[in-house]
Symmetry: C2
Subunit: 359 residues, 2 copies
DNA sequence: AAGTGCCGAGACAACGTTGTCTGGGAGTAG
DNA sequence: CTACTCCCAGACAACGTTGTCTCGGCACTT
């Protein structure tokens, strides 16, 4: 039951390749060959080895194997996400895992929480573990440190946001196009006073979505009221509070375009609290679970995080296997999903309305 | 730019401890001491070493270190979840990561998808990587294979569901109590014909929630109509379809108790489609994002997956650090959150009503 | 029948690091 | 001034595995 007190040197109860060799009556190296599926081994010996492995519950030590092998593969990749528990990140994670699974590769994950220092710490931790590759949603605006970290021998793929200071494959959603489409959609439904609410400006996707909004407004010949642009929202409460402010103003917007999940949800909460959810139009960037069950159901620009993860993983494995063609940029299309909130007509509200609202 | 073609033996551009030693003018072992924070090193030499490390971008190889160290720690733990992308799993994941982070430990994750074979495959993969410990939401009903896999030297903690065939710490939600409370709550609101809809019967938590439902019914002296017990629902569409069937029956239930997230959402969809969401009461086991924004907001028995992950990780690290007290069972309380759907009064519907409903 | 070639198995070294042991230098006490 | 102690740095081996080389034996060729 407890660990076997063998008088021999071995400290742990775990069998080593040598033990298997002795049990099977062959040499250490022959066991290695069987474990690695080398075909030239005599089938009789191979069978003996397999029986000994079974009997001793031998499990190869990948660490030792990696150390000695010439390719230095650990069979492990690293995945740095904004937060493993948010729906976008975890959908991406799952897609990466599925690609890894087909190759017998395991995935180390970490949450960055938009913290550049944490990004570097985790990159270092993964370097020390000699991950075969890294997929990262960058939190900082400079990834040149990865050159030192990985010495050019570990492929990197950027997802969701471009990296800087390191040429690498990049998988991006069509943020500008998607945001333009959302804004155009609101304009097409008659809206003129449209507010944009976005995430931290230092996040590239937030800037791109903002850009798309501006593009569509300019294209339609509409002037953008700068007070209707609210950047740097990162939490539900922050968004909720800002939307409340916006809607209490003298000239409130008739439509909202929210640049991120949590902002969208904050906006929904604010609209609900003010009883304006059937009055003020809303389109959110990035889909979220149950968006279709809200009232009205929330129109969104859906991203495809699973596709992004899959493409990123495929790109990474292709690099790991030696592809050294120039870095590619993969665009994953977004999709406008009409559900109701984005199709509400503009209703210009008077000061009296707003007074009534707020009672 | 490309890898340096040193005429020396080293194949990769990465510096080894030996290179640092040469650059710093000290012995290999002194570098090792500095890297490991051994205090007895002359501060002057230590500084030289640190400078050399910086200059060469040296990163220790944890694999090689693990191989040689007497404690054999990899600084990596494994986490086996049902599916990294579902909200319960990913909240748990995040909590485990946060505990690991404070200890400089990294987390390997895998999704089991309720597949026993996958559970064994991943356990084996993690054994081969010599994870320091394993936190697992078991998918199979027998974990005795882990004894062979880990040879007793790798601690295991079960979360969300008990394991079998292996004594180990276990972190569980109070499923029976929570389900009893939910059912009692419906009974207290006057319901008599209450349906239970649950996940696969082979999942322990599904059995426990079912049990809690039966307990509360018996306690109230109510007979349970066996046709109102619907087990083995695992997806939203399956749940939706079954709920539709139930509500079209001659004597439909006036309240639903759903034993799992996806089943709850399926039920919400069905109720919406039938226009019965304000008529038939609903309580779901396990909270989910936006439950409070639906109409009516969904009353739930909330679990605390973050707490479960935190306690599980703490237990695991305590074992890794040598705690060999008898295995403990940790109960994480559930909480009834009243939001509206669970407080609807019973409305007995006639056949005419149902006919009208279905039009 | 002898020489050649080939193939499969084992001996040995090495991967990058740390545990252990040794030696030398400095400091202290007699 | 000598002898003893203490402490720090380095030499060496070892962790579990795989790459390389060698050797023995068998089959085939001439």
């Amino acid at each position: 039951m407890s660990s076997e007190p063998t008088s021999e040197a071995g400290r742990t109860g775990r069998a080593r390749m040598n033990d298997v060799a002795r049990a099977a009556g062959v040499s250490l190296k022959t066991v290695s060959r069987v474990v690695n599926g080398v075909q030239s081994v005599n089938p009789v010996l191979a069978e003996q080895v397999r029986e000994a492995i079974e009997a001793l519950n031998y499990r190869p030590d990948i660490g030792a194997s990696t150390l000695r092998r010439s390719d230095r593969r650990t069979g492990t990749i690293a995945l740095l996400l904004e937060d493993v528990s948010n729906p976008f990140s975890s959908a991406l994670h799952r897609a990466v895992e599925d690609e890894a699974r087909t190759r017998g590769v395991q995935v180390l994950t970490g949450s960055l929480d938009e913290d550049p220092q944490r990004e570097r710490e985790l990159a270092r931790a993964f370097t020390m573990r000699r991950a075969d590759g890294l997929i990262i949603v960058p939190a900082s605006d400079d990834q040149s440190y990865l050159v030192d970290e990985f010495q050019g021998d570990t492929p990197v793929v950027f997802v969701d946001r471009p990296g800087h200071g390191l040429p690498a494959d990049t998988v991006l959603a069509t943020n500008v196009i998607g945001a333009t489409e959302a804004t155009r959609h609101l304009i097409d439904h008659g809206h003129r006073r449209i507010a944009y609410l976005g995430d931290y400006t230092r996040i590239a996707t937030a800037r791109q979505r903002h850009q798309g909004f501006l593009d569509a407004m300019r294209e339609a010949g509409l002037e953008t009221d700068p007070t209707l642009i609210v950047p740097d929202l990162h939490t539900i409460p922050a968004a909720e509070s800002k939307v409340m402010d916006l809607l209490h103003r003298a000239e409130p917007p008739t439509a909202l375009f929210t640049g991120q999940n949590l902002v969208t949800i904050g906006a929904v909460r604010a609209l609900r609290r003010l009883g304006l959810h059937r009055t003020v139009a809303l389109i959110g960037f990035d889909d979220f679970p149950l968006a279709d069950l809200l009232e009205p159901a929330v129109t969104v620009i859906a991203q495809d995080p699973a596709m992004m993860g899959r493409i990123a993983a495929q790109a990474l494995f292709s690099r790991i296997e030696g592809d050294d063609s120039p870095p590619r940029r993969h665009w994953i299309p977004t999709e406008l999903i009409r559900r109701g909130s984005g199709e509400l007509p503009p209703r210009l509200r008077t000061a009296d309305d707003r007074l009534a609202d707020s009672l």
